[in-house]
């Protein structure tokens, strides 16, 4: 899915292409073109003016995404996509500026907390995923039950100050996930430092096909 300002849509399509057939969606689309899953990629939708994700949340296509999510369809929001899904009320919590106010770009280790979500169904509890993170507004804050915390930053990797080291959460039903780090940039060891990010897309594709 692409909004004005999105910059990670091409990498998201590349990641999806490794597990399924990608379909490009535009923010003004009136429907989801029959897709089996939705990825809301990172970037700076509408320039992040006002607040990250606040304006994108009202894009025409988001009506369809909200209906799709409520019907149980898998939706993955990455970075700005995570912020958009929080603003849309599909995920709990909100993202605040990083504790040191800096834009940070680095490889982070994430620990898988649960495998009972579609996205982490190909992982093991306690497994470490190494994927890149790059953001300035990624400090998670919110009232979220432990069962909905999917990924935590490993010790020493919570650079943004997120509450309880939370890096990724799901909704109550478990079909909508958001995370600040970028799994779509870690689908090939040549450029991503690891291919660990692919696991989330594999898990998502597995339920989309079922």
């Amino acid at each position: 899915m692409t909004f004005p300002g999105t910059c990670d849509d091409a990498d998201a399509r590349l990641a999806v292409s490794k597990v399924a057939e990608p379909v490009a969606l535009w923010h003004r689309d009136s429907d989801l073109r029959g897709v089996d899953g939705v990825v809301v990629p990172g970037g700076f939708s509408y320039g992040d003016y006002l607040r990250a994700g606040s304006i994108a949340r009202f894009s025409p296509v988001m009506e369809s995404v909200i209906a799709f999510a409520h019907a149980g369809g898998p939706v993955l929001g990455i970075c700005n996509g995570f912020q958009i899904l929080c603003e849309a009320g599909l995920l709990p919590g909100a993202l605040l500026p990083n504790k040191d106010l800096r834009f940070v770009c680095r490889q982070v280790d994430l620990e898988v907390q649960t495998t009972s979500t579609p996205f982490t169904s190909t992982c093991e509890v306690g497994q470490t995923l190494s994927i890149p993170a790059k953001h300035q507004t990624g400090c998670f804050f919110g009232d979220v039950p432990d069962a909905q915390v999917v990924l935590r930053y490993a010790a020493g990797h919570n650079f943004n100050g997120s509450q309880d080291d939370i890096a990724g959460v799901v909704n109550e039903q478990g079909n909508v996930m958001g995370l600040m780090p970028h799994p779509e940039h870690a689908v090939d060891v040549l450029t991503g430092g690891s291919a660990d990010g692919l696991k989330l897309f594999e898990g998502m594709a597995r339920v989309a096909v079922a």
Binding site: L50, R51, S54, L96, C139, F141
Partner: protein
């Protein structure tokens, strides 16, 4: 009417911008500064001021992390 909406981080919410400013002021020699919060100001002309609160809750502020205050500007 011309309205002014002040948006602030809620009390207790991490406010790194406020903290940065609070630390910078003493460095310039301004003593006795505390509880600095950095927020946002939105000014707008609205025909129906009854809609302002709804605007704030749905778009201008995120009620989960921010408080807002609506003021009339001038007359």
């Amino acid at each position: 009417m011309r309205a002014r909406v002040l948006i602030r981080p809620k009390a207790g919410i991490l406010d790194p911008q406020g903290v940065a400013v609070e630390r910078a002021l003493p460095a310039l020699g301004f003593a006795g500064v505390a509880n600095v919060h950095v927020g946002r100001l939105v000014e707008l002309d609205v025909e129906d001021e009854a809609q302002l609160d709804d605007m704030c809750r749905r778009l201008l502020a995120n009620p989960l992390i921010e408080d807002y205050e609506i003021q009339a500007v001038g007359s």
